[in-house]
């Protein structure tokens, strides 16, 4: 098994074309345990961390750009990002432990395509886009369209994610991510819920995104929950509708961590709580005045 470390996107696409059996990696916090568990060794491992676009975080150019191979510790440590997207940053900060987060990345979390990946519902809730490089050039795809099932993505041979784009949040917007694990840390989500809410001046929901993880083959949006919210205030009726819609959207498995019935019920509970948290943040937010894209 070879170790290759390209320094540019072009070099990386060339190497990947030359080594069709290669696997890209960033933190390797999924790749190495999988190899140790007996997955066949690839011909080469291509390290993305030497590519500067893949490891940088910036909010220039009208939106955030987050390198796909950036350690999540860099995101939790970014005060501006955390202030604008606390839910996204909290999701990144739930991955494993401090040690794991010094290696783990959003690109790896997404492309490993575990249904339970913590950052994915939060990325979907915030409408993030993946910038993909490959033999045919560069394309941009919504994060929610990337995973296609457990362990599989729509990436084509030779393609990899360079970075993520994240638009600045409009005024009166808040996001939240909640996950449930049996323990306090170092465990795999039984249910995750990522929500983003924008309120109008009357305090009603102007727009909403609700995404749930670990309860279906891929993280998924819950349109019925979003519809129940938009145009309405956050109250017991809308929250009950959110919970019901989230539970109904589940297509979970029974496994060692939780039964189908449990995952379904708790998906509703977490979606509801995440909506409350995101709406509270939206109401308290100062985004827009000082922080939205246009005024910068």
């Amino acid at each position: 098994m070879k170790y290759l470390a390209p320094k540019t996107v072009e070099e990386a696409t060339t190497l990947l074309a030359e080594h069709p059996g290669a696997t890209v990696f960033a933190g390797a916090t999924d790749v190495i345990p999988q190899l140790k568990a007996g997955r066949p060794e690839p011909e080469a491992l291509v390290d993305l961390k030497k590519i500067s676009q893949a490891v940088s975080v910036s909010d220039e150019g009208g939106h955030w750009s987050i390198g796909a191979a950036t350690a999540t510790a860099k995101l939790t440590g970014n005060k501006a990002l955390a202030a604008e997207f606390p839910g996204l940053v909290e999701a990144a900060g739930l991955i494993g432990s401090d040690q794991v987060q010094s290696r783990a990345t959003l690109g790896g979390n997404l492309c490993n395509a575990s249904p339970a990946a913590d950052s994915v519902p939060a990325m979907i809730a915030n409408g993030m886009r993946a910038v993909i490089a490959g033999p045919g050039g560069t394309r941009t795809v919504a994060v929610e369209d990337i995973p296609t099932g457990p362990g599989s993505t729509q990436l084509q041979p030779g393609e990899f994610v360079v970075s993520f784009e994240l638009d600045h949040a409009p005024a009166r917007t808040g996001d939240a991510y909640l996950r449930l694990i049996p323990r306090t840390e170092m465990d795999i989500a039984v249910v995750g819920a990522g929500v983003r809410i924008t309120l109008d001046d009357a305090g009603n929901v102007a727009s909403a995104t609700v995404a749930i993880g670990a309860v279906a083959p891929t993280a998924r949006r819950v349109p019925a929950a979003e519809e129940a919210l938009v145009g309405n205030p956050i109250n017991d009726t809308t929250l009950a509708a959110v919970a019901e819609a989230a539970s109904a959207a589940c297509n979970p498995i029974d496994d060692k961590r939780g039964t189908i019935a449990y995952r379904r019920q708790v998906a509703g509970v977490l979606a509801r709580r995440a909506v409350v948290a995101a709406a509270e943040r939206a109401a308290a937010s100062t985004n827009g005045a000082s922080n939205n894209g246009e005024t910068r």
Partner: protein, 749 residues
């Protein structure tokens, strides 16, 4: 004063700096690598075994199977297990060796130059099996027509040990009852999950002894079992314990001892003298050693209007798995605990151990006590609820006291202090008052849950636990002290202490040294310990049953007295050897259970406060007051460490550890699926409360205490959960999904 102080642990520097050697660290680079090949069959008959391909695998030195074992059977308290499952019967045993009764039965030991070669050879072994019906649990094992797992015992059924207690007049007891509570409880497995998975090495020492360096709990018992299987005299076997990375009962039975000794011995006969080492992975460890027993207990208790117990009717079944291990002894302990630490005028108690094809049950901190204490204390808390009594008050009216007659109809040993322990715990738990009921918590995310979903509750439980081996076992403990000095000296300038007792991480060797220093009037630095090597130390008995400080202390006191006599006699060096034997105990009468079961007890009470998230089923334990009469804290820091560690281990048992077994096979052989508490998971506050009410026959008044923190945590948590939700939980672990399912089913809160 050495006793009562907290000198630096004698093992601390080595452990902190990393120089301490655990068994795997002792294996030299040139050692041969051994791999245990499991049968991987829960229940099947071996019809053929072909190891020729394994033997010729490059790098393989030898493959050992059943015919290599002189006496192909072993077992700590009942020899019922083949060393290797094999087609041809060897040695003096009635136990058929051609049947695998457990997925981790041993089929062969491969010895190779490298781990890789050993793995390749293991994969090249060809075994053919005739499948037999798998008895996945006690219900299947007790069903009519179930195949017999051990027909050789002649019983005709898989229920192979039963104990009784028949006391008083049950009809009168029920007639006097103002309240009766009845339930069927299910208790789960628990995995020991010690930090150090099984590892060891064997070689022939300079005196020609077959020597095994390994982690265990009782060097001399390991030696006896090895000698038995190899059919060698005990003095041709030597067992040494290097540092031990935890045990908790999980090393009470042998794991690699016999097979490693066999390999070194057989290789030596063939002219191969390199040591043989083996290190189990976590998966091998979890699949390959016994567990705390799962089981079922049906209990029906009555009490009069004042809350005094009038009758206890109770029947228990433990899943012993494919082999006895220590199940027959664990069962005795569970049996004795079914009536709780109370005056029980009328009792009908029955306890059974049942063979199945699941993982064997065996020793684990508390040794059957936690299972019966869970039931007894839940019953007591339900009686309190039924009668409108405070849980502490009902205990006050029932607990055993000095002079009480226990449930086996003989007087309790002097020094019954549970009443004081209960009072002290209740008083400590009532101050300060519990925190406000709406404080949000979040064990699983960075955002707090809806405060409206939280409920708080408080629970209480108490128990007793025997110190030392019970029911007529020939208890003993040996110690030797050698005093050094010149002929004219008034006092020795130093001493050597020889003791076999296992320091499994609890600090036993520090405590032994403290006690020897105290007994000799020497500073602790002048006492040099030599431990856990059968070549130089006498039989200490096991590091189990909360007995080691207690038994070793009495042995050390005796040895110090003998050494002092020799010193005053002018001997230089002055040698004192002593074998301490405690007051005798008796086996249960088969019909009535009448006996003197034990010579000493420790007493515990715990008060728990918790918060439950009724939206997710998560439980956070906010506070536990763990109250222990330790008689005398020989080393208070180590006592606190035992309480804190025991509470956290109990926390895992009750809340998160869920060993899943399907068709008699373990489904959760990893610490990523079998969830022990992480640093953020234990109780928020653990308050150890130590009482020192002397045991009249304990060394310096000490009592054993190491198992006691495990005893009452389950019932105290369950009582607090009931207080919070109004729902009783007659089974655990209380994982979020089980809690939520039960709350849903009961329509609360």
């Amino acid at each position: 004063m050495s006793v009562g102080g907290t000198p630096r642990r004698i093992d601390s520097e080595g452990k902190v700096t990393g120089v301490t050697e655990y068994p795997a660290d002792r294996i030299p680079p040139d050692a041969l690598v051994a791999k245990v090949v499991f049968t991987n069959q829960a229940h099947a008959r071996l019809t053929s075994l072909d190891v020729r391909a394994a033997e010729v695998t490059p790098g393989v030195v030898a493959v050992f199977t059943a015919p290599d074992v002189p006496v192909n059977v072993y077992g700590l308290t009942l020899p019922d297990q083949p060393v290797f499952v094999g087609t041809s019967h060897t040695g003096r045993t009635d136990v058929p060796c051609d049947v695998s009764r457990w997925e981790a039965d041993h089929l062969a030991l491969v010895v190779a130059e490298t781990a890789h070669a050993a793995d390749q050879a293991a994969a090249a072994i060809v075994a053919t099996w005739e499948p037999l019906p798998v008895l996945g649990d006690i219900d299947e094992a007790m069903a009519p027509g179930a195949p017999l797992l051990h027909p050789e015992n002649g019983l005709g059924h898989n229920v192979y040990t039963t104990y009784n207690i028949r006391k008083g007049d049950m009809a009168a007891g029920w007639a006097a009852a103002a309240a009766v509570v009845e339930a069927t409880y299910e208790v789960p497995y628990q995995e020991h999950a010690y930090l150090q998975p099984e590892a060891g090495m064997a070689y022939i020492d300079d005196h020609g002894r077959v020597t095994v360096e390994i982690a265990g709990q009782w060097t001399h018992e390991d030696r006896e079992q090895i000698a038995h299987a190899l059919d060698l005299p005990e003095d041709e076997i030597r067992v040494i314990y290097p540092a031990i990375g935890g045990a908790f009962g999980g090393r009470e039975d042998t794991s690699l001892q016999i097979v490693l000794a066999l390999a070194a011995w057989r290789l030596h006969q063939r002219g191969e003298h390199r040591p043989v080492g083996c290190v189990w992975s976590r998966e091998e460890s979890i699949v390959g050693h016994h567990k705390r027993h799962r089981g079922r207990i049906q209990a029906r208790w009555g009490a009069d209007a004042e809350g005094r117990i009038t009758a206890v009717e109770s029947e228990a079944w433990l899943d012993a798995g494919g082999y006895n291990y220590t199940s027959n002894k664990v069962l005795g302990n569970l049996h004795l605990g079914q009536g709780g630490p109370y005056e029980v005028p009328n009792a009908q108690v029955t306890s059974h151990a049942v063979y199945t094809n699941a993982v064997p049950g065996g020793a684990f901190r508390g040794f059957g006590g936690p299972q019966s204490a869970y039931v007894a204390e839940c019953q007591m808390n339900k009686l309190a609820e039924a009668l409108g009594l405070d849980p502490v008050e009902i205990r006050r009216r029932n607990v055993l006291r000095d002079g009480s007659i226990g449930i086996t109809q003989t007087p309790m040993p002097d020094g019954v202090t549970i009443a004081q322990v209960v009072e002290a715990c209740a008083a400590a738990a009532s101050t300060p008052p519990p925190a406000s009921p709406s404080e949000p918590f979040t064990p699983f995310a960075t955002l707090g849950p809806a405060a409206g979903d939280l409920r708080r509750g408080r629970g209480f439980a108490c128990a007793f636990k025997n110190v030392g081996f019970s029911f007529g076992f020939p208890e003993r403990c040996e110690a030797e002290i050698v005093l050094h000095g010149a002929v004219g000296d008034d006092a020795p300038h130093g001493a050597d202490l020889f003791h076999a007792g296992a320091d499994v991480g609890q600090g036993a060797h520090t405590v032994f040294t403290q006690m020897a220093a105290e007994a000799l009037g020497l500073p602790i630095e002048r006492v040099h310990g030599h431990f856990s090597d059968t070549a130089i130390t006498g039989d200490s008995g096991s590091a189990s049953a909360s007995r080691l400080t207690w038994m070793a202390g009495n042995a050390i006191l005796g040895a110090a007295e003998e050494a002092d006599k020799a010193w005053r006699n002018g001997d230089r060096p002055a040698v004192g050897k002593f074998r301490y034997v405690p007051p005798p105990t008796e086996a249960l009468d088969p019909e009535t259970g009448v006996c003197t079961p034990n010579f000493s007890y420790g007493y515990v009470a715990q008060a728990v406060e918790l918060t439950v998230d009724t939206g997710t089923g998560h439980i956070r334990v906010d506070r536990v007051v763990s109250t222990h009469d330790v008689g005398r804290a020989i080393n208070p820091d180590l006592v606190v460490a035992q309480i804190e560690g025991g509470v956290v281990q109990a926390h895992g048992y009750v809340l998160s550890e869920d060993l899943q077994v399907r068709d008699a096979r373990i489904q959760t052989p990893r610490l990523s699926t079998y969830l022990i508490p992480g640093i953020g998971d234990g109780p928020t506050v653990i308050e150890p409360l130590i009482l020192e009410l002397a045991d009249p026959i304990g060394p310096w008044g000490a009592r054993g205490m190491a198992e006691m923190p495990m005893m009452t945590y389950a019932p105290a948590v369950v009582a607090a959960l009931h207080d919070a939700t109004g729902v009783w939980f007659d089974a655990f672990p209380l994982t979020p999904s089980r809690v939520l399912a039960r709350l849903n089913e009961s329509g609360r809160p």
